[in-house]
Symmetry: C2
Subunit: 403 residues, 2 copies
């Protein structure tokens, strides 16, 4: 790396991208290389005030090779899915140039990139960091290379669910039919402003390493689970229609029940996989029972859960139910004494816990089962960060902080 | 109750019946009253030396009403399924008499019955005691009333899986098609002598009360799980053919893999039920992982698990693998120190536990997760007990022991 004084000019751009949580789950690919799914899926984009990835891309003639730093640690840039994204963005940039559209950043096309990416949440929390990560990478690279337009098909090639993080609010990933995957794209169903009362609580289960990664897990499921095939072919198409309808109408009951049923069915297909895959643990099951008993007590579906390929619960509810439900969670999962803050994110008012509610739920409290709760809501898609002081790469072309 | 000296003559008969464990699972009824299933199933009858129900039926003109004692405690005889069995047996006895077949016990037809039944295993162990119980009831009543021939259709009306306990060895319950259930019967596939090397280990998980009973559980599953419907319609028919074939050929690998897949699929449909039903707990999941890692270590399917509507594991293996596998179980589920006998039933030789096997399995031991192991094998169907001293009802018409 040349010294700063001898460096050619550097073009730097920084963007952020959100995490999304699927309410109709994606599990299983029909094409491993292009990352084409066996069914459509639908997600809610979480607000970046609570959960986001930030990525800086710098280009310069002085850079001798593409390099990548994730959360302060240099990583191998030759990861095939990362290379897919880089290749596709450069291809689009070349195409744009050959089409005669002279963008500002076209000089960077032949230049190497330095990429630096950080999450504002612990990777170990088991949140879908790859979706936010690849969405942010593709969005930032597109800015750096002056590429515009549909980018979800490129993000999809980094990590399937990353395509849904390219939009805010309520997003569907249409599975598509083409062999080349050109029609397997994300699309916004409703923006983040559509349903202002909707709230999301991420219940972070006490750390436990994922035994089976989702890439290999879904491969085994596709190969061995006959229930998964039936789900993809015969169950999900109807559910997508119902879910889009529920979102558009802001019909919480239908939204919540479909969300829970679809989470359960996804985990059912994991259990039908051979050998079976377990992502739910005792804490997850306690959350599931708690939610059903909470709703049963009120005779209404006030709260819904969903679980991805890990034990963390993501809870959907309406703003007015948040304080009470959080106090229920605190009661049945007593936090560590003298531990850090139990509720992070959007402030949650204190709430009295009715004695009859506690009795009606009637579960044995599970101390320390949940480390903390992130309180958030639907949020926007990827954004460009305007303030240059927030670039993660310094004027010497290297990350400002490393571990 | 009249005193003994003034009692009319009493006719007493005692029989025993076995527990069975399904390897193709029954879950879901198409008719709740007749107990007609949505799919066929297949089970192995466990040996009565280890697990059995014993039932004595006494008839006498002196008895004023039908009465029932279960495990020493008087129970309500008006339970509708019990009444179905009593009614059906009496109907067959009348039919036999009107057909002119003068049996020995026909005098008892108008008489009331006293029924006394005990299990030689703790009900709390969560073993399918209702199957053995109803099989034994129907078989013993048939003896008392001089009824012969096909009885599994009557046992089925007591408890679905009881029909399979009417035969020894390997038994299928053919779902049938008729609305009146006449063709929904059990049938022996192979007798208990067919596969002498086959061994069965019941791993009794530390007591945990069943949250959802199987009757209401399967009702909810039929109403809410679209995966269950697909399983019954499209998956089980092929599996029945494959399983019967594997049993007939004594093909352990196919038998074992189908057994595990079918257990997992049954529990998957429970999870796809709304609200979801969980029967597997942490101990069950540890057993599942242990079995897969054990088999993976040898590159062969030596051992299979299956779970009914509870956390107990039933293990199938061949005689030569029993000692080592039991020592694996003891290693990963260290029994309570100074507790009772860990291995009950058929004797199991001590076995050295290879260090590389322990490493290959690599699970965290779960102390006291399993209370004890019952070592058994396939066994015969219901039997008449000849020795009058074993009658559970004394000459006064009452149970010899009560609690």
């Amino acid at each position: 790396m040349p010294e700063e004084e001898s460096m050619d000019p550097m073009n730097t751009v920084t963007c952020t991208a959100p995490v999304n949580i699927a309410v109709i789950k994606y599990w299983g690919k029909r094409d491993e290389d292009l990352i084409l799914p066996i069914n459509s899926s639908l997600s809610v984009t979480l607000h970046q005030d609570q959960l986001k990835t930030t990525t800086t891309v710098a280009t310069s003639r002085s850079f001798l090779e593409d390099r990548l730093w994730l959360n302060g640690k240099e990583e191998d840039i030759n990861h095939s899915r990362l290379q897919s994204c880089l290749r596709e963005i450069r291809r689009l940039a070349r195409k744009r140039r050959s089409d005669g559209d002279a963008g500002l950043n076209l000089t960077g096309l032949s230049q190497r990139v330095h990429i630096c990416s950080v999450n504002n949440f612990p990777t170990a929390a088991g949140l879908a960091s790859s979706a936010a990560g690849f969405a942010c990478l593709v969005y930032t690279l597109a800015q750096a290379f002056g590429v515009e337009g549909e980018l979800s098909g490129i993000a999809r090639q980094g990590s399937g669910s990353a395509c849904r993080s390219m939009y805010g609010g309520f997003v569907q990933w249409i599975m598509g039919k083409d062999d080349d995957g050109k029609d397997s794209l994300a699309q916004q169903v409703e923006p983040e402003t559509h349903w202002p009362e909707l709230r999301i609580l991420v219940l972070v289960a006490s750390a436990e390493r994922k035994l089976v990664g989702s890439t290999s897990g879904m491969q085994t499921s596709v190969q061995t689970s006959c229930l998964l095939k039936h789900r993809a072919d015969a169950v999900v198409p109807d559910r997508m229609v119902q879910m889009i309808n529920a979102v558009q109408k802001k019909d919480f009951t239908t939204f919540a029940e479909l969300t829970m049923k679809d989470s359960n069915q996804f985990h059912a297909t994991c259990l039908d996989t051979y050998p079976p895959i377990f992502y739910l643990n005792n804490v997850s099951r306690q959350v599931i029972n708690l939610v059903h008993r909470y709703n049963a007590h009120y005779g209404k579906t006030r709260v819904a859960y969903t679980f991805d390929a890990g034990p963390n619960a993501v809870i959907f509810t309406l703003e007015r139910h948040v304080p009470e439900f959080v106090s229920v969670v605190q009661h049945f999962f007593p936090p560590e004494i003298n531990g850090g803050q139990f509720i992070k994110g959007l402030p949650v008012k204190d709430s009295l816990l009715p004695e009859d509610l506690v009795k009606a739920i009637g579960l044995e409290p599970m101390p320390k089962g949940i480390s903390y709760v992130i309180s958030t809501k639907p949020g926007p898609g990827p954004c460009v960060v305007q303030d240059p002081s927030e670039h993660l790469i310094g004027s010497n072309g290297l990350p400002k902080t490393t571990v």
